[in-house]
Amino acid sequence: MEQLESHPATEQQGHLVVERTGAGWRVLFADPSARKLTCLEPGAPADWADLSLRQLDLDRQPLDESHQLWQIGKSADKQAFLQANAALEAALRSAEEANQAKSRFLSSMSHDIRTPMNAIVGMTAIGLSHIDEKARVQDCLSKIQTASSHLMSLVNDVLDMSRIDSGRMTLHEERFSLADLIHDVAVILRPQAAQKQQTLRVEIGDILEEHLLGDPLRLRQILVNIIGNAIKYTQAGGEIQTSFAQRPAQAQRGGASVLLDFSCQDNGIGMSQAFLQRIFLPFERVNNTTISRIEGTGLGMSIVKKLVDSMSGEISVQSQEGQGSLFQVSIPLPVSPQTQNALALPTGGTILVAESWEDRAEKIHQYLTEADLRPVTLPSGMDAVTWLTEAQYENRMPLALLLGQELTDMPTLNLASHVRQLAGQAFPILLASEADWVQLEYRATRAGINAFVPCPLFRSRLLKTLSDLTGGSNGQTGGQSGEIDYSGYRVLLVEDNELNQEIAMELLEMTGVQVETAGDGLQAAEKFEASPPGYYDLIFMDIQMPVMDGYQATRRIRQLAREDAKTVWIVAMTANAFVEDMRLSQEAGMNEHLSKPVDIDRLNEILRGRLGAAPQPGKQ
């Protein structure tokens, strides 16, 4: 290269001498200004790849067969060249950064993919080597399941990003319920927050319209990503506060619209200002030694940004390292045209609300008052029992008891059990809770809860449930307004004692259920045998009876060769209260045990548990 240091032709500004190299040209000499303009060094390829030379007006003069003198054009061209060069340099840097991010992504992805894969491979091996130990295998399978679903989410993120990047992702528009959407998000994320002992609050501000048009799946993806990140990047025991509200927005396509405002604030590790600039770039993750074990592709926020953009929404984030982050999202959504069902709620009816969370109590109070109901809010279980006892004495029972999330002195279900005894079977008790109903249902229905209103609390859900339960009567009549109607169901009452039979029949018929009777076990078995399949929904079976006792009758029914013989719910009715008696009932094939004297509340508890809190009349 040393012989290329000088050439007479290149003493002039903007000149360079090039040499033919097969299909292209190689720089032999270049004056300093040409080098600066073109970024070419002697020896560099001069035409085939160098984009900057293509931008220039080149005057090419042959020197001999294999050499040419190239002269760079006018100064105006030079200026354009300089600009183009700068832009290219920026593009190059950007491409390099993107490349580095992709490299980091590939490196972290290979780690992230390998981690769950290792778990899957390892746990499979452990499981196979302990194949006889059910509990161990079960443990392995559950870990494999966790690792697999994590792996699946990694792959899904990558696919989503690829779809968005390639413009293949389209948004659907369908009618959806904001209440359902937020509830689903809460159900998905609450367990994760609970696992880290974090407080996850979901506040509902002013909601103008609950039924909207949009893509609920993608909206859910946005919310789950943002709140999920907050959970991920907040230490155990931390707090995450989310809120939803609406503002009127410009009408879209001739229909009303609202702006859905969502915010999510945490007190987690936060982000540096430098990272905040890159947060919506793909493959970026907060780099912090305290969270090195946090898994993810780094695509989530990028996907969120692109989804929000595609919905014509806005997203912003504020954060401070060590203090937490605040994400705010606003998305315009058209309001769904809907037919409003009139709620049958009696004006001025009293609802006793047992709730110690002030915010929740206020919200309930607001919703009930707006519906022309009269809420009485008490923070403790003991206050509620005192109030109800007085109300019962003075014959001014409320329409219903609405149990909230928390009481100052006891769990809400403890109160429910007692109120069910105190106020009787017909008195409606609702539970408004953030808990997952599937997890809670068994305990709650046994405690006497008639209906569940999921939280975050929405006006429509609360009032609809109240309306369904109270049936629109004007209340204040000892709770009779909430009487449950099981007229679509049929019960076989097996009891030899006439008086007991009469009392039980009376109690059962109060609920509307159709009651047929049998005087002993043999009659019961024969009646069941003679009935068409699915005819009886429930059998109440006395134990001590002449001719054939309840145990034998149950065994005989269970042995019948028809499908409902195995599934029909049989309840033992006996004063025999020893654990052995319950075991004997179970061994005979009975499902439940009802102590005598028959307690009306327990009887209804069983009806509610089996026939449901919201019966479906018409089943024959």
């Binding site: 130990e133 059910k134 004495y393 403890n414 105190l422 004692n497 004063a575 004297p597």
Partner: protein, 619 residues
């Protein structure tokens, strides 16, 4: 009362006596063992008879309670009241069962006075039934406390209609219910103080008093002062307001003065039972420093007359040290320098208990020792907690000790069989993992198995009414409460060095291998490093319960062969397949023979202990 009710009560009394340690009465060991076996047979007969009485007489009455006659109902009420006499709570579970039925009847008939009365008595019964759940986390007991409290709350709500309910008996129930709302533990301790304060305001209201002058208002008021004075122990977190302090001080003063006057009138010394809360209140309210309080307690304990077996002396010798240790536990920096004192205190207590005359022995002595077992402080080179617990078992709960010894022997023998083929079987347990494979390691594992066996059911000492003293089979609610012996056992064993390694066995021995059933929720098998040993204890305990005497309250009984087959059928569900495999390979025979050896060893120990006690009682 009806004849069957009288008989049932009589049987309970006899059963209670039989559950106590058998006196030697000059018997040879063989005669002593035969007498123990005879007592066991008699126990079984009486329990079966009681079951029969309830099944044939009481349950049909409850079955048909809606048209029971007035006389039947009165007898039932009287019978129930005899089941729960203060100081002699023979059968709180049945008491609750009867009053629950009577409450249902009252609600059905809308008989308000009967409802108030039954709510009160059901609350009292539940207080007795759940009062055994001491030392357990509030999260576990909260449900039961609330059940009890809400009964009183509902009855007390009728206070608003005091004028309308004209009979004094019902008014009395309302007022007593109001006062009893403050029984039991509270979520927030200050609530109790405020609740008692409100009750005091009601009881001191002249308007109420004028309406029912015949009621013993002074007694009611005095009892709320006792409640208030007792609530001082809740103020450990020093979150009392000046008004709370004033209220507690006032109540303590009233209680103290009244007891002092009573003592002076009877020319007696003031019982330490009343001196302790007074000094404690002074401490919590800032009149005494902690050191002054501790010195005062030491002085009172040191001056106790060890030859006096009166309830008051018994309180000073045993219960007061329990409170003393509780303070030391809360302020552990005060333990330093008191090690020798503590050790001599415990040894003094044991000598006192050894020498306690059989004819004076009652529930009180055992209750005080249970209190001590909750606050016992283990000191290096001092009396070990495990030795203390063993003495408690042997001396007061022989049936429980026999069961524990049988499980210990069988667990040890079963482990020995496993180790002879698989020396590393228990290597998941960290302390054994690091030991070289040799005889020393094997012995360490066998000792561990024996310890786990001996202490796995120690939580039952909290609830003897449901185990050793039960006079019939459990009812559903009792079974639920009884299940908490696992958490109770763990809470006793875990905090102390000599017993902490047995805590997992106490907690997890009723858990199922597959985790789908069993209890308690707090035991997570796969997270427990000692799970292989817990599995062993769970299996052996299950076999002993089915073939021993636990069937009397669980209702499940099998021959040994049937139990082994049932265990094998539960392979992979209730029991680890690794263990059931060993049952097929000689483990069953080895366990059966160890049960017998354990029984004999336990009987010998009971005999020796009775002998030693006899020596201690000699002048």
């Amino acid at each position: 009362m009806q004849t069957y009710q009288e008989e049932y009560l009589h049987n309970l009394e006899e059963l209670y006596a039989l559950s106590r340690r058998k006196p030697l009465d000059g018997r040879t060991p063989e005669a002593y063992f035969a007498a123990l076996a005879q007592d066991q047979a008699r126990t079984e007969t009486l329990i079966l008879r009681n079951m029969d009485l309830l099944r044939s007489q009481l349950f049909p009455l409850l079955d048909d309670l809606f048209h029971a006659g007035r006389e039947d109902l009165d007898h039932l009420f009287q019978f129930a009241s005899r089941l729960l006499v203060p100081g002699k709570e023979l059968d709180p579970g049945l008491f609750c069962q009867i009053h629950r039925a009577l409450l249902s009847l009252a609600r059905q008939k809308q008989d308000r006075s009967a409802m108030i009365r039954e709510l009160y008595w059901l609350g009292i019964g539940r207080n007795s039934l759940y009062g055994r759940l001491v030392g357990l986390d509030f999260s576990l007991t909260e449900k039961y406390v609330n059940r009890m409290r809400l009964c009183f709350t509902e009855a007390a709500a009728y206070l608003k209609y005091f004028d309308e309910l004209s009979d004094d008996e019902t008014r009395g129930y309302i007022l007593r219910s109001r006062a009893n709302m403050s029984l039991g533990t509270f979520k927030h301790p200050r609530e109790k103080i405020h609740m008692v304060k409100t009750t005091q305001e009601i009881l001191n209201d002249q308007e109420y008093q004028k309406k029912a002058p015949a009621l013993p208002w002074d007694r009611y008021i005095y009892m709320t002062h006792q409640q208030m004075a007792a609530s001082i122990s809740y103020a450990k977190d020093h979150d009392m307001t000046p008004e709370d302090v004033e209220a507690v001080m006032e109540s303590s003063y009233i209680v103290f003065q009244r007891r002092l006057h009573e003592a002076e009138a009877n020319r007696q010394r003031l019982s330490n039972r009343w001196a302790l809360p007074y000094h404690t209140t002074e401490f919590y309210c800032g009149v005494l420093t902690l050191d002054q309080l501790l010195h005062q307690l030491e002085a009172l304990m040191d001056h106790a007359d060890l030859s006096d077996y009166s309830p008051d002396s018994c309180y000073t010798v045993i219960s007061m040290p329990a409170f003393y240790c509780q303070y030391l536990q809360h302020y552990p920096d005060r333990i330093a320098g008191r090690e020798t004192y503590l050790d001599s205190l415990y040894r003094r207590i044991l000598r006192y208990v050894e020498a306690f005359p059989k004819d004076l022995e009652g529930d009180v002595l055992f209750r005080y020792l249970c209190q001590l077992s909750h606050t016992f402080i283990e000191i290096a080179n001092g009396l070990l907690y495990r030795d203390f617990l063993l003495k408690l078992l042997v001396r007061f709960v022989p049936q429980l000790y026999i069961h524990a010894a049988k499980v210990a022997w069988a667990a040890k023998a079963f482990c020995q069989l496993i180790l002879s083929h698989e020396p590393d079987f228990f290597d998941d347990i960290p302390e054994f993992q690091v030991m070289p494979e040799n005889a020393e390691k094997q012995q360490a594992i066998l000792d561990y198995a024996a310890g786990c066996g001996l202490f796995h059911d120690i939580g039952e000492v909290n609830m003897l009414e449901l185990f050793a003293h039960i006079g019939r089979q459990w009812m559903a609610e009792e079974e639920q409460v009884a299940q908490m012996h696992t958490d109770a056992g763990k809470n006793l064993l875990a905090p102390r060095a000599s017993t902490s390694r047995y805590a997992d066995a106490a907690l997890g021995h009723h858990a199922w291998y597959d985790g789908l059933r069993g209890y308690p929720a707090a035991y997570q098998r796969l997270e427990c490093p000692s799970r292989q040993m817990v599995d062993v204890i769970g299996l052996v305990d299950w076999l002993e319960n089915l073939t021993g005497s636990a069937w009397l309250y669980t209702g499940e009984s099998m021959t040994f062969d049937q139990a082994i087959n049932a265990a094998i059928e539960l392979e992979g569900k209730r029991f680890s397949p690794l263990l059931t495999a060993w049952l097929r390979e000689g483990g069953a025979e080895c366990i059966q023979s160890a049960f017998e050896q354990g029984l004999q060893a336990a009987r010998r120990r009971l005999y020796e202990d009775s002998l030693r006690s006899l020596d201690a009682a000699l002048p």
